[in-house]
């Protein structure tokens, strides 16, 4: 059963569950899509996250109660709609090397793993996109194998280079732009996710999947990778 609460004078929050669950992102992503299509005249924006969907609406056109009722009735007919999006998987090349993986050496030591085994574990599954946030195009991916999970750094780094791939407990992610952050950095991708290319904001969508594959240092460098 869904639970809807007010999130402000022109926003509501729809909860799809109380716990993180791999079945939710797809469901929430689809409902977001359906809402935008069906109530396009009043919906301003949607923010899907792990278990919820934040929806802002035009209070000039519809009041809280009327909007609440519309969303609730849409939720009731959710399964009978045809706006279901197909899941897409994006494949992303990563150079896993000690020279770009700032925390890799420590992680391997703490987890008693060699580099090959680590790469095997990190690249073996297609990660689900649970949420996008923190900064533009920053996708929270899960669930990371327990054998390579580490908590965030006690003190965040001032600058993590764009493209860095990090792990924080059960989550992994790519930093789209240079930024501060406390995730354990294990590699770097060549993929440009910066806002210099405006299309990049469409690269990730909640409910889609991301699979990493390993490239060598030579492949990384010869394609323009920086150390």
């Amino acid at each position: 059963m869904n639970n809807i609460v007010s999130a402000g004078e022109n926003a509501i929050l729809v909860y799809f569950g109380n716990e993180i669950n791999a079945a939710l992102p797809k469901k929430i992503g689809n409902f977001a899509n359906q809402l935008k299509n069906t109530l396009s005249d009043v919906v301003i924006d949607v923010i899907p996250s792990y278990t919820s969907l934040h929806v802002s609406y035009d209070l000039n056109k519809i009041n809280f109660q009327a909007f609440f009722d519309k969303v609730e009735s849409l939720l009731d007919q959710q399964d009978s709609n045809n706006s279901i999006l197909e899941s897409q998987t994006t494949h992303i090349p990563v150079y896993y090397g000690l020279d770009v993986g700032l925390d890799l050496e420590r992680l391997l030591a703490e987890k008693n793993l060699d580099l090959m085994s680590f790469i095997e574990i990190h690249t073996s599954q297609a990660y689900l996109i649970y949420a996008i946030g923190f900064s533009p195009a920053f996708a929270f991916l899960g669930e990371v194998d327990e054998r390579i999970q580490l908590p965030r750094l006690p003190t965040p780094r001032i600058k993590i280079p764009a493209g860095s791939v990090g792990i924080a407990e059960g989550q992994t992610a790519i930093y789209p732009a240079d930024s501060s952050g406390g995730w354990n950095i294990v590699g770097r991708t060549l993929l440009d996710l910066s806002l210099n290319n405006p299309e990049n904001i469409h690269k990730f969508r909640v409910g889609d999947k991301v699979k990493f594959y390993s490239i060598t240092r030579d492949e990384y460098l010869s394609n323009g990778g920086m150390l």
């Binding site: 004078e9 022109n10 996250s49 900064s135 405006p198």
Partner: protein
């Protein structure tokens, strides 16, 4: 048709109503911090409600007009002068080629708004002209920048009756809607929140405003991240409130006790550190009624 930046300042940026439709992509709302002063600045020139302005924080910037045009300056009194002579605020003004506009230092309030007839014609990025430094979208104004504006064919000399011009030196009460985890906070926690005077701290920028006061005992420190509304009030691990503002991240994982009414956030945007602040409950019905009236007056519609 442009202004030239003659002298840089602490923080002056181009802003419009905001980047409202990209929360899905992890972007902040961005946009002006004081919607009241902003709406008046454009209104005084018969501009569109979403026209871009310059948000000048604490002053320091100096601009030179490259052509004749009309402007309006609203918001904080930052010692606004034209050619070194004190100039009128909250008033449509004609200026001439070569005029030098300056804002030397803050006298009352924090942020001034410079609107130009027709709006500034800077680059539209992700459906908005608003600069967001945290997201590397645009940059703050520096010496040598050129700020283009649009042509216009109609002149206006609107002004505001002085009795409607806000005084930004007063302590404030922020009206807040019971939203998000409001019901998860106990009666005791809510009493403590509503019955104390908080103080605005120095940790206070376009992203958020941190308050000091008596901490609220927290039972659940972190929760699953969820979408953030402009003005929602997080209770951080230390039990103190942070009011999330225009440049806040799109999602966050602290419990939220409510969401401040947008037009009270406009008042907050003009308060300096050490100002006393209280919270008072407001109903969604009341908030929507008041905001709708504001939107109708300033012809704000999406």
């Amino acid at each position: 048709m442009s202004f030239k930046v003659i002298k840089s300042s602490f923080l002056s940026t181009v802003q419009d109503y905001g980047r409202l439709t990209h929360g899905e992509h992890g972007m902040s709302q961005s946009g002006v911090m004081d919607e009241h002063a902003y709406a008046w600045a454009n209104h005084l020139l018969n501009n569109h409600f979403n026209d871009a302005v310059i948000e000048i924080t604490f002053g320091g910037i100096v601009l030179e007009a490259q052509t004749d045009t009309f402007i309006a300056v609203t918001g904080a009194n930052l010692d606004f002068k034209i050619n070194n002579k004190t100039a009128q605020m909250w008033h449509g003004l004609q200026i001439y080629k070569g005029d030098v506009l300056s804002w030397a230092n803050p006298k009352n309030g924090v942020r001034a708004y410079l609107a130009v007839k027709g709006g500034f014609a800077t680059e539209v990025l992700f459906d908005s002209k608003s600069v967001n430094l945290r997201e590397h979208i645009g940059a703050k104004l520096i010496k040598g920048d050129v700020l283009p504006y649009k042509d216009f064919n109609e002149v206006t000399y609107h002004f505001i009756s002085p009795k409607y011009i806000p005084n930004y030196n007063q302590d404030i009460t922020l009206r807040i809607l019971p939203t998000y985890q409001f019901n998860d906070f106990s009666i005791n926690q809510r009493d403590l929140f509503f019955n104390q005077n908080y103080t605005i701290t120095n940790a206070n920028d376009r992203t958020g405003c941190r308050l000091s006061g008596a901490p609220i005992a927290i039972k659940k420190e972190r929760m699953i991240s969820e979408g953030i509304s402009y003005g929602c009030v997080e209770i951080a691990t230390d039990g103190l409130p942070i009011i999330l503002l225009k440049d806040a991240p799109s999602i966050g994982g602290y419990p939220k006790i409510g969401t401040v009414f947008s037009l009270d956030l406009a008042k907050l945007a003009q308060r300096q550190p050490n100002t006393k602040l209280r919270f008072e409950l407001m109903s969604i019905h009341e908030a929507q009624k008041e905001r709708r009236k504001f939107n109708d007056f300033f012809e704000i519609s999406f």
